[in-house]
Symmetry: C2
Subunit: 245 residues, 2 copies
């Protein structure tokens, strides 16, 4: 048996997210079916991050096992061939140690969130950004974001469906940068709670449009109360950028 | 009567191009209908560049006349409102001199062409790039492109349907830069022949994959023969970036 690692990129639009669901097409199902059509073997594909419906990936990592040997470029090209016409691509395929686990061995996840902050709605970036027409103060968002960096109880920013045993997480980076008409938020941590990035972004947006001050964000964090978060930012602006092992 | 100028951005996917056609929805029709629904007036909207089906715009410029006065931000927001759900956006609306003509007064057009040059097909940039899996030598393309800069008879690179009176055009810039997995080509000229950018890009691609040398490109140009061009690069990778007056 050979354990394979895939580096995956996908457009989450119209998909129900990474994990198999009964209510629509998932990235997991699409990748498993493509591997099965190529290899003739039944596989389970395990990913580093179980992205939600509509969330994109630039560098998702996944693993699965195959009995018969293949060349890395063959696996990459064949899986890409059978993935058509899905907007899911294998950037790299590589053989890894039998013990490698895409989810449990990951030591850091990096996410990006893109806000389109201008008067005109998204056209070429539709389904790729959160469109916010009211002018946001990115510098105020950047300063306030520091409050969330570090080891905290992030109960305020977890969804009701979050399955994590503990709400204690260490946030290593939460940066906010304006790049022309976009505000880009980079978040990096060993792991995140369910909806944590989207709730942090929804809360930072309240700072950006002046509804909240930095102290309100600190108070929301300290409250450890899910009802104290800003709204959950929409899925379309979120990208799983990379996973570190 | 007030003459209005619009700065427009659009996703050309699924549209028949700028100009009204009987076989599908055009950008012109969508913008004219949105202006008419807002103003109650019948208008003709004239654009700087009549982009083809599937071609995108980051900075198309257009003009039209309205009898009743309005504020610029009102025109921008109202036209955007009535453009929904089209992937067409008004970035700016402004009042211009009665004599302003979006097409005839333009002194320079800038186009960008994006090639995705990697093994995996486009996912998040699908319909936004030309996917070329074979590795291209961007530096060779950049050097060869110099042959086309300047004042030349571009008959080789015009389509059979080109309505321009003369094939003589001055190409001020044709730059090729690799940016990660993408090769980006920037072209700038007072005006272009029909399909000129896409034919130049299709020819440069032959340089990039080693089928042509720079001398072949020079010979193709000198031949002034449409059958000597490389293939026409697909519409999805082309963007009208800006128009100068």
């Amino acid at each position: 048996v050979t354990r394979w690692r895939l580096l995956l990129e996908y457009d989450g639009t119209g998909l129900v997210g990474w994990q198999r669901q009964t209510n629509g097409r998932s990235v997991q199902q699409a990748v498993e079916e493509a591997v099965e059509r190529f290899s003739g073997e039944t596989v389970t594909v395990v990913a580093a991050g179980r992205t939600d419906a509509g969330v994109h990936a630039l560098g998702q990592v996944a693993h699965f096992d195959l009995t018969r040997p293949s060349e890395p470029d063959t696996v990459r090209d064949a899986v890409n061939f059978y993935l058509k016409p899905e907007a899911i691509g294998v950037l790299e395929a590589s053989v890894v140690d039998d013990a490698f686990h895409a989810r449990f061995d990951a030591v850091e996840r990096s996410y990006r969130y893109r806000i389109l902050n201008r008067a005109a709605p998204a056209t070429l970036t539709r389904d790729r950004v959160w469109f916010v027409p009211v002018p946001l103060d990115a510098e105020a968002m950047r300063r306030a974001a520091r409050v969330l960096v570090g080891r905290h109880d992030f109960t305020t920013f977890r969804s009701a469906e979050c399955q994590s045993k503990s709400p204690l997480k260490t946030l290593d980076e939460l940066d906010v940068v304006r790049s022309g008409e976009e505000i880009v938020i980079e978040a990096r941590a060993p792991s995140f709670l369910h909806n944590q990035v989207r709730r942090m972004v929804g809360s930072l947006k309240l700072i950006g449009d002046g509804k909240w001050h930095a102290a309100d964000l600190a108070a929301a964090l300290a409250a450890r109360d899910g009802t104290r978060s800003g709204p959950t930012a929409q899925a379309a602006g979120l990208y799983l950028v990379s996973v570190r092992y």
